[in-house]
């Protein structure tokens, strides 16, 4: 593969790609996809939402980042629940073969279930849309945390455990001084993947329940036939998701410890 470098390639190349995509978009909206708003039209319609991202003009008419903020708050709730449940579950799976043999099949079956399927169950259970959304986020996003934590525990080198055994560590000491710190890098990989899923789920959950947020806004604008705002929402969701992932990567790299077992 050719990989030539030139000055400012890190900026120029993505810009060129951006322009190319923009052209494709304009071309499409001008030719075969008449109902697709053009980039210019999208920008004009979105201006008040982007330039005053935190404005609140009415319940259904708020700045795009304000909507994103509502979504983030909801994600934070569901995600915290996912971590609170996922970490202990992952630890148990990693530490006990018997537990794994019992619960692994159930996890493998529940894991691929779509958020769209969990949401109605949440609505039945909690009768209100917000807790239902939180429940859906939690149950959909916890699996990477569960599985990565379990893998991390199983990957703890026997040498580390022997150090603890020689020192006659109690179960609690073994967990807090050896297992948890050794598993932390794996857990953070799980946390990052879980956050990605939580952010995916929020949009679906908001669309179905009408909870205010960027996904709710998207659905509402679809119903009001303001298609430009759908694109605005898609871009916002993508950007926020990207920023979240970057932030988690930063935290993750801080916890990476070199593997000295070999």
């Amino acid at each position: 593969m050719n990989d030539r470098r030139f000055p400012f390639d890190w900026l120029l190349l993505p810009l060129v790609a951006l322009v190319a995509c923009g052209l494709l978009w304009s071309l499409s909206s001008a030719t075969w996809a008449k109902s697709l708003p053009s980039p210019l039209k999208t920008w004009e319609m979105s201006k008040p939402y982007v330039l005053q991202p935190f404005a609140k003009r009415g319940e259904l008419d708020q700045g795009v980042l304000r909507f994103a903020w509502y979504s983030l708050v909801l994600v934070a709730k569901g995600y915290s629940l996912a971590l609170l449940a996922g970490v202990p579950l992952g630890l148990l799976l990693g530490m006990s073969k018997i537990f794994t043999r019992g619960f692994d099949p159930i996890i493998q079956i529940l894991r691929p279930v779509s958020p769209l399927a969990w949401l109605p169950l949440g609505l039945i259970l909690f009768q209100k849309s917000e807790p239902a959304a939180v429940f859906t986020i939690a149950i959909c996003s916890m699996w990477p945390t569960v599985l990565n934590t379990a893998v991390g525990v199983r990957a703890v080198p026997q040498d580390y455990l022997n150090v603890g055994r020689v020192l006659q560590f109690t179960r609690w000491q073994m967990l807090s001084k050896i297992l948890l710190p050794a598993t932390l890098p794996y857990m953070f990989t799980g946390f990052r993947l879980s956050l990605g899923i939580a952010w995916l789920v929020i949009v679906a959950a908001e669309m179905l329940t009408g909870v205010p947020g960027v996904g709710g806004f998207l659905w509402q604008e679809y119903n009001s036939l303001i298609y430009e705002h759908i694109i605005l929402c898609i871009l916002t969701i993508g950007l926020v998701g990207f920023v979240l992932d970057r932030l988690m990567s930063l935290i993750e790299s801080r916890f990476r410890t070199p593997d000295l077992a070999r």
């Binding site: 580390y160 150090v163 020689v166 006659q168 050896i178 070199p258 593997d259 000295l260």
Partner: protein
């Protein structure tokens, strides 16, 4: 000093049985060994002969199927900090500094000691192995040889009844290995801990040991013979290599292997 306990560590008819597809196999069988207090004994034998298995049974990290192991009058059951173990890989916890790796153990054996007293023991131990300037470095920042120095310091800092060394320098290049052998000699001379070391390096065994136990090849490995190493201490590598007795003993060992 109190009178030396002759039967300080006693391995009596130790047998280790593993289940294999072809039925149970005794990897170690009727292994008998008695070690004096303050003695340095090496176990030598071909790789896979079960010498590490013997060591890990004494460490309590592996169960024995028959026989008994008695240390200072008490039968061994399970691992404990009265036996400081140095593994072949340094086995340091990478998220802790050199100092923290050592204090982790010291705090376990000196529960009543203050934080500063624990730190002091660890610092002294690390200084003895030549790492007084690297206390706050993490294992990732240390060379392989330095990591193994930390591992030695960690074992000695426990002030154990028995020191167990499982091919401690097996992963090091020969120059670093010689350096660390000297570090180990100096440490050992400072408080004459009873020590049991597994090695397959004949020179290393001759340089460090009071006695060398030669193990027969497994399965059913056991004691094939014991060599007394008469050299006076402190020993010096260079003069030892010139000693005709050294060549004779080395010849004996190599013939056995």
């Amino acid at each position: 000093m109190n009178s030396v306990i002759e039967r300080y560590l006693e391995l009596w008819r130790i047998t280790k049985t593993y289940d294999s597809p072809a039925g149970p196999v005794n990897v170690v069988q009727d292994f008998n060994l008695t070690i004096r207090q303050g003695e340095f004994v090496s176990l030598i034998g071909h790789s896979g002969c079960g010498k590490s298995t013997v060591l890990s049974m004494v460490a309590g990290l592996s169960d024995y199927s028959a026989g008994g192991i008695v240390l200072a009058g008490r039968e061994i059951s399970g691992p404990g900090p009265d036996r400081g173990v140095v593994f072949q890989s340094p086995s340091l916890l990478p998220w802790l500094t050199a100092l923290e790796n050592v204090t982790l153990g010291v705090r376990q054996v000196r529960r009543e000691a203050s934080r500063s007293a624990v730190d002091e023991i660890a610092v002294r131990s690390l200084t003895l192995v030549g790492l007084g300037d690297s206390l706050d470095q993490r294992p990732g920042e240390l060379s392989q040889g330095m990591r193994q120095r930390v591992a030695l310091a960690r074992a000695f800092a426990l002030d154990p009844k028995l020191l167990l060394l499982d091919e401690p320098f097996g992963m090091l290049d020969s120059l670093t290995r010689m350096e660390l052998q000297q570090v180990l000699i100096d440490l050992w001379m400072s408080d004459r801990k009873t020590a049991l070391m597994v090695t397959h390096d004949v020179d290393e065994a001759l340089l460090l040991s009071d006695r060398i136990v030669m193990m027969t090849n497994g399965p059913e490995a056991t004691v094939g013979g014991i060599l007394e190493i008469p050299f006076a201490r402190p020993r010096d590598r260079a003069t030892l290599l010139d000693d005709p007795e050294f060549s004779r003993l080395k010849g004996d060992l190599l013939r056995f292997l």
